[in-house]
């Protein structure tokens, strides 16, 4: 039965398993790193902007430009351009570990900009209240911005992770693995539609799980807050 509908895929169970794990590994590792760095960068953008907590025209405009540059370099070129850097960082520029570097670098500005946009929506009255209590800027960021904006941050995060999963498909370019590479190299390029399809379905499942986790986190954050 399965063999009939998935003539090629059924020969590759093990590869599917490995590829899935590789995609998960890439997603999680780069997600965590890009998440932390992107969050920090986004917060710095937020507070150094004109109406921010600690306006600083110079820092803001430099970081703002870096974010734009980071977002506008096509991934494949980014990957090539930063190879020397990748090599310093992980010792090689090929393979699954190596591709996480450009994925992280590509995701940081993507996430940072979203964090910035999202935190701009936090009620300014509440920020003021915190100021009036003598809260430090760091305190306001940690305990007001991030807390009040948490739901939006979660939404932006699942959005970003899903985007990042898309980027992991490029891993194959430098000999990395994962489901994207599998779909392309073992499936699409060889006209094996069943392999392509199955790889994509597995990617989709990961995406759905991400979205579901995101939605659950939102629900959990809003628990008890319902009206």
């Amino acid at each position: 039965m399965i063999e009939q509908f998935f003539p090629n895929a059924s020969l590759l169970w093990e590869e599917f398993g490995t590829a899935t794990l590789e995609t998960l590994a890439m997603t999680c590792i780069s997600g965590v790193i890009a998440g932390i760095l992107g969050l920090i960068l986004g917060v710095i953008l937020l507070i150094t902007d004109e109406d921010g907590l600690q306006p600083n025209r110079i820092v803001y405009s430099i970081l703002d430009k870096i974010v734009n540059i980071g977002r506008s370099i096509p991934f494949i070129i980014l990957l090539a351009v930063i190879m020397p850097f990748t090599r310093v960082l992980v010792g090689t520029s090929i393979g699954t570990e190596a591709v996480t570097v450009p994925i992280v670098l590509g995701t940081i500005p993507f996430f940072a900009r979203q964090i910035q946009n999202v935190l701009l929506e936090v009620d300014s009255g509440v920020i003021e209240a915190a100021k009036s209590m003598g809260e430090s800027n760091l305190g306001i960021i940690l305990f007001v911005y991030l807390k009040e904006g948490l739901v939006s941050i979660i939404r932006a995060s699942s959005f970003t992770v899903i985007n990042l999963i898309g980027l992991t498909a490029m891993a194959g370019t430098v000999g990395g693995g994962g489901l994207g590479a599998m779909a392309l190299q073992q499936g699409y390029q060889r006209g094996r539609d069943d392999v392509t399809l199955l790889s994509l379905v597995l990617v989709l499942i990961i995406v759905f799980i991400t979205q579901i986790i995101g939605n659950l986190l939102v629900k959990w954050t809003l628990r008890g807050r319902k009206i």
């Binding site: 009620d123 009255g125 509440v126 003021e128 209240a129 915190a130 100021k131 009036s132 209590m133 003598g134 809260e135 430090s136 800027n137 305190g139 305990f143 007001v144 807390k147 009040e148 948490l150 739901v151 954050t221 008890g224 807050r225 009206i227």
Partner: protein, 339 residues
């Protein structure tokens, strides 16, 4: 305790500037409960936000001295330290939607050095004081308007501030709750010596707890001083207006005039310390029978003030009557129908 000198605040808008506060100076002494009243838009909120520098004065010559420190010359860090000593209740509450009521009140205690249990105890005590302990695990969105305001009050008190700034702290509250909150404020003022600045449009609140009051109009403080003095001898038209409207004399006058054809007199008690039975005395001395149509008389910090509208039956010698009443610290005025 609080010295504001030459404070001006201008907001720039597209095509014009709004002068919300115009070169105002204000002095609040330690232990004062200082009321600020004035029409909506007079600049009250803006002025009070100067005290903890949430609003910066737009004029270079301004001085903001709180508890002996010139706030405008402080570093960010020092300013934060001073702000911790100033509690604030915002007109729009500004509660954190993501925190429960208890967590909102606990927020200012984060760096207080209290243990978790101590914090919890303190929060519960505060919530109990304002009467919403049962809502401690609810979120702001689940509260009624008045409940939110009470959370804001509890939060402002959490830090044991030296100064409490209240922007309409009781406007959303029913009279009973208002009373209990005002008593709470009075208590913290007396027991802990907290200085309180309170914006309100309810003259009753001023009467109830303030010892001083400033009246704002159009960005200016047009009158300020002791509550008793101001209630007795308001110098500015606006102040008089405010007191009259607040005590509903104006409405009463209108109504009475439309209900009676007889001549109506206003007896005004301003700072009468003795308590002689005026109405009966008038009858005894002049044979005049006074019928009370409207009355609003009360003790304000040991002195009796208020107004009676009366009709007088008998042979009224206004001059004599006037002279006698003046001795008693009461003024009499003939009220004419307005056309």
């Amino acid at each position: 305790m609080i010295h504001l000198k030459n404070i001006s605040v201008h907001f720039k808008q597209k095509n014009r500037e709004v002068h919300a506060v115009k070169n105002v100076s204000l002095e609040v002494e330690s232990g004062d409960i200082y009321g600020i009243v004035g029409y909506s838009g007079a600049g009250k909120s803006t002025l009070v936000r100067i005290i903890n520098l949430l609003q910066h004065p737009t004029d270079k010559s301004s001085e903001v001295i709180v508890d002996g420190k010139n706030l405008l010359s402080l570093s960010q860090k020092e300013l934060r330290k001073e702000r911790k000593k100033i509690g604030m209740i915002f007109q729009h509450f500004n509660l954190m939607a993501s925190r429960t009521i208890a967590d909102n009140v606990a927020f200012p205690l984060r760096n207080s050095g209290l243990s978790k249990a101590e914090k919890e105890e303190k929060v519960e005590k505060l919530l109990d004081l304002v009467g919403i302990l049962d809502k401690k695990n609810s979120y702001p969105i689940q509260l009624s308007g008045g409940q939110k305001q009470r959370v804001a009050i509890a939060r402002a008190l959490a830090n044991d501030p030296k100064i409490l700034l209240c922007d309409e702290a009781t406007s959303a509250l029913d009279p009973k709750t208002t009373l209990s909150i005002l008593e709470l404020l009075k208590e913290v003022n007396q027991k802990l010596g907290i200085t309180i600045v309170i914006i309100t449009h309810e003259m009753q609140v001023v009467k109830e707890i303030c010892n001083k009051v400033a009246v704002m109009e159009n960005g200016n403080i047009i009158e300020s001083g002791n509550v008793v003095d101001i209630f007795n001898q308001p110098k500015q038209a606006l102040t008089r207006d405010f007191i009259r409207t607040a005590t509903h004399i104006e409405q009463a006058e209108k109504k009475i005039l439309s209900h009676t054809k007889e001549q109506v007199y206003e007896l005004k008690f301003s700072g009468r310390h003795t308590a002689d039975p005026i109405i009966v005395e008038i009858y005894k001395r002049f044979g005049i029978v006074a019928d009370i149509l409207y009355g609003n008389i009360e003790f304000l910090q040991e002195t009796m003030i208020g107004t009676l509208f009366v009709t007088l039956e008998g042979k009224v010698e206004l001059n004599e009557l006037e002279a006698y009443l003046a001795e008693q610290d009461v003024t009499i005025t003939k009220i004419n129908k307005k056309t």
